[in-house]
Point group: C2
Chain length 111, copies 2
């Protein structure tokens, strides 16, 4: 599947830039959510829940943001689905890559 | 040392109540510090530092709040030193126990 696609040098630049932008968005959203939860915490046990939740969020992000060309198609589809990536940022990618991303999104929408 | 002291039933009540009160104070201070740090966080990396710091604080508290009679003298001395326990809450303990707590505090003050 996606692991067999070739990435031109201009596509690699588009991909890197979209990836970095999505990472910034994801980290910003996570930080904002963390600050909101922390401001609402009233007990020690609330704080422990936030700590556990935060560790899980960080692990999810580390797993999600996997910049290997063999993984990028599904990574981009996931980032779009989670609201971290604006699909327009992928405009410089070849049509076959964008179609494949679209297939993942369509597949997920059916689940 | 302290592990050989006998604890009467009334002393056990005093100890339990002082211990619980100190735990409440420690958890309250930790929560307040956490909320302050979280409100000041501006980057994802600040958030990670808070998470690491929080985990360490929790471990320190778990280690500190050790309710075994063999450990209580040094635990109470540590709680007083850290500002979590008002020494007056130990008024119902025998003089030998309070002296021993005093010796730990004096020893620490000299370090």
């Amino acid at each position: 599947m996606s692991s067999n696609l070739e990435w031109s040098s201009s596509e690699k630049k588009v991909a890197r830039s979209a990836f970095d932008k999505a990472l910034e968005v994801a980290q910003g959203k996570t930080l904002a959510e963390f600050k909101k939860k922390a401001s609402e915490a009233t007990t020690f046990s609330d704080m422990r829940e936030i700590e556990d939740h935060l560790r899980q969020l960080r692990r999810d992000l580390e797993q999600l943001f996997d910049y290997r060309y063999s993984q990028l198609i599904i990574v981009f589809a996931s980032l779009i689905r989670k609201g971290y990536l604006d699909e327009k940022l992928l405009d410089g990618l070849s049509q076959d890559k964008r179609d494949e991303i679209g297939r993942f999104l369509a597949w997920h929408a059916r689940q």
